[in-house]
Amino acid sequence: MPSVELIASSLVSGFLLGGILALTALGLSLVLGVMRLVNLAHGEFLIAGAYAGLFLVKYTGIDPLLGLLVIGGVIGLLALPMHQFLLMPLAGKGPEAPMMTTFGVSIILQNAFVLAFSADTRAIERDYANVALTLGPVTVAQIYVIGFAISASVVGAVHILIAYTAFGRDLRASAADADAAATIGVNVRRVHALTFALGAGCAALGGTLIGIAFAFTPVSGATYLLTDFAIVVLGGLGNILGTLIGGITLGVLQSIGGVMLGDGYRDLVGLALFLVVLAFRPQGLLAASRS
């Protein structure tokens, strides 16, 4: 029977980690909700962010957390030509073609990472990452707390962007009815391009946090991709705050699974949950009921 401290710490860690995972899933949810695109290269955007953070600190000494916005911006900008040249031309050809194309990109990126950076396991070594915080029975890694704070802020910022700005209006309208939006004057193509870039940028941010908190390899993206799908399905496609709730839920459930069944089962819990939700309510647990 695990101790109270262990359980409490696990739950809180799971909660915080779930928040961080929510950030990694945010981009996927946006792109899926607005563009109906399953971006199978999402995991690689994450890892790209992790590598970017790694090299940022290695070559400039700037802490990745300080350079987060730059990292997100760079990766987001790099995603734009991908959308422009690879995805947009496939506009009328059905939903599988773009998805398979992102699959191709995923393969290319994974192997490009190996070629460029070697297959070694990496981690962004920061001193603050190894500190543990203790409050009562609960002990968590400091980086989880920092990561959670950053993640929640970014999710909140994106939510404000989507819910309260003109761009957000255009985005939601494009997601609801692209043809009507175009007739009203929304440049739907541009909205899609920017959404894709935003999704990539958010993924990169999440990846940097992951890179600081954990180790990563060129192929780690695939596992996060699936976990992120679980979060998106839990929280509802395109539902920003729902993604945060979904992430936290998943984090907590993963912790429970880990405590009860063993550490290796953490990821499995997420996937099993995903499959169950997908089987019964593919549009997401928190999605509004269909009209």
Binding site: A180, I184, S291
Partner: protein, 532 residues
């Protein structure tokens, strides 16, 4: 001998009985407690204006939709919960309003699907022979090996019928099979249906082309707003004034009111509108002098054609719209009205011809570009952004202007439609059909457009609401807004506009001023198909 005359040809055996059939989509009731009894051996027609629920009813009977309430009994057993495939196997065949053949299979293979699903073990030779005979019956024998994709519209409709025939159904549901066909083609179709009557016990014809039901059906059921409005022998139903009213326009008052009465009430409304016109002048994207002789027309279409794949929707349209004009585009279902609207607003690119906006060639430009140039399109079906609030729906259309200007325009819209002001924070799903239509109109106006296309704005709305909306249109007209009104409800429109075009099969069959068009006997023919 017309089937309509022979009442005794129907047996007493009841083939289908639907009781209390209801279909609800959220707050919208598409079919409201409809009862229907079909006897073996009869040909029954179901008619009603657009939005009455005809296609929903077909979906419910055929199994594509499951009812919110009610039961269906077919051939003695209950089939309410059976999916479409099971109903098909029991003998319910249906065709689709817009033909859905298996495009990447040959005509023959399309029929084989039905054969093989019914009798998987039937010998190949027998199956092909069966197909051959059905194809001969439906006039497609020469096209047996052609890919379905290559067939033109009428032949695709024949294929729909052939495919349903291959099922050897006991009940055949023909869903708007006459739509989009010219007179000669309708005659062919009537011949086909007559030949089917011998071998299929019961046929239900859901139709908009009245000529078809007149010549094929013994009995008619009239639907309106999802409810059964009338039922009885074909000749009786078609002669009823009530039914005619439902088709030609509900009017404002009774249809029996004479032209002079209606004209004066229309004038009164316009006068009323004129008082508000001043305040609305700001909403109208003017800036060009109104109808000053030598001025360039606001919009000119030259030889515009458009097609959806094989189906030609528009055929060499020439249209001129002067600034400040109100023009009506009329026509029966499938004539091409919405296609024309979409070509003008940029949602569809024309396949040939050119379009000039104030002299500038804008042919083939994207929708958002045309919107920026001042073309607003109040789309058919409203197309409100459901997740956005009423106010957001409005704001999104006011693009590229300062926040102050946006506020100003919002206030004007709230003045025009107070109902929207009360609900400004409600989401698109929480307002009624009429309010959605008002929102759609207001949204179109928020862009301060030079030209607005109103596409079927009276669809599915009660007369009182339509009154209110047309009142607003009258006010806008008086304020100088250039508008193109695509409509089914003829009466109201003809009182409002300067000029009328009537579309038939993608070209203008009739054009002129409202009095000219109204007096023309062809008008009724184009809608009701009564070959007098």
């Amino acid at each position: 001998m017309k089937p309509g005359e022979d009442v005794t040809s129907a047996s007493d055996r009841i083939l289908l009985r639907a009781a209390g059939l209801t279909k609800r989509y959220g707050g919208v009731v598409a079919i409201d407690h409809v009862d229907l009894t079909l006897r073996s051996g009869e040909v029954c027609g179901i008619i009603g204006p657009n939005g009455a629920g005809k296609s929903t009813l077909v979906g419910l009977l055929g199994g594509a939709l499951s009812p919110t309430a009610g039961r269906i009994h077919f051939d003695g057993s209950e089939v309410t919960s059976l999916p479409a495939s099971e109903r098909a196997r029991r003998g319910i065949g249906r065709t689709y309003q817009i033909p859905r053949p298996f495009l990447d299979m040959t005509v023959e293979e399309n029929l084989l699907v039905a054969q093989y699903s019914l009798s998987p073990l039937v010998g190949t030779r027998a199956a092909y022979a069966q197909c051959r005979s059905v194809l001969e019956r439906t006039g497609l024998a020469d096209a047996a090996k052609m890919p379905a994709r290559a067939l033109p519209l009428l032949r695709r409709k024949r294929l729909e019928v052939a495919r349903a025939l291959a099922l050897r159904p006991k009940l055949l549901l023909l869903d708007e099979v006459g739509a989009g066909l010219i007179d000669a083609e309708v005659t062919e179709l009537i011949g086909l249906i007559h030949s089917l009557v011998k071998e299929i016990p019961t046929i239900v014809i859901i139709e908009h082309v009245i000529r078809l039901v007149r010549e094929c059906c013994q009995r008619l059921v009239v639907l309106d707003f999802g409810r059964q409005l009338a039922q009885g022998l074909t000749s009786q139903v078609l002669e009823s004034d009530e039914v005619a009213a439902v088709y030609l326009g509900t009017g404002h008052g009774s249809l029996k009111a004479g032209p002079s009465e209606r004209a004066s009430s229309a004038r009164a409304r316009l006068a009323q509108g004129g008082q508000r016109a001043g305040s609305l002048a700001g909403m109208v994207g003017a800036g060009e002098p109104k109808a000053s002789g030598a001025a360039m027309p606001l919009l000119r279409l030259e030889a515009i054609s458009a097609a959806y794949g094989q189906a030609k929707a528009l055929n060499g349209i020439d249209l001129v719209v002067e600034a400040g004009q109100a023009i009506a585009i009329l026509g029966s279902n499938g004539a091409g009205k919405t296609t024309l609207a979409k070509v003008i607003s940029g949602a569809i690119k024309p396949s040939s011809g050119c379009m000039l906006l104030n002299g500038e060639d804008v042919t083939g430009r994207s929708a958002h570009v045309l919107a920026a140039r001042g073309i607003a399109h109040c789309m058919e079906g409203r197309r409100i952004f459901q997740p956005l609030t009423v106010e957001e729906n409005l704001l999104i259309a006011a693009r590229g202007v300062s926040a102050i200007e946006q506020r100003r325009r919002l206030e004007e819209m709230y003045l025009l439609f107070p109902a929207l002001a009360e609900r400004k924070a409600a989401s698109g799903t929480a307002i009624s059909g009429g309010q959605q239509q008002m929102l759609a109109i207001a949204r179109a106006l928020m862009a301060k457009p030079r030209l607005v296309i109103f596409d079927e704005i009276s669809l599915g709305l009660s007369p009182i609401v339509v009154d209110r909306i047309y009142q607003a249109l009258g006010e806008l007209r008086a304020a100088g807004l250039t508008m193109l009104i695509v409509e089914q409800d003829m009466d109201r429109v003809l009182d409002l506009v300067d000029y009328v075009h009537v579309l038939e099969h993608g070209s203008f069959a009739l054009s002129g001023s409202p009095p000219q068009v109204k007096a023309n006997p062809r008008l009724r023919h184009l809608y009701i198909g009564a070959a007098d």
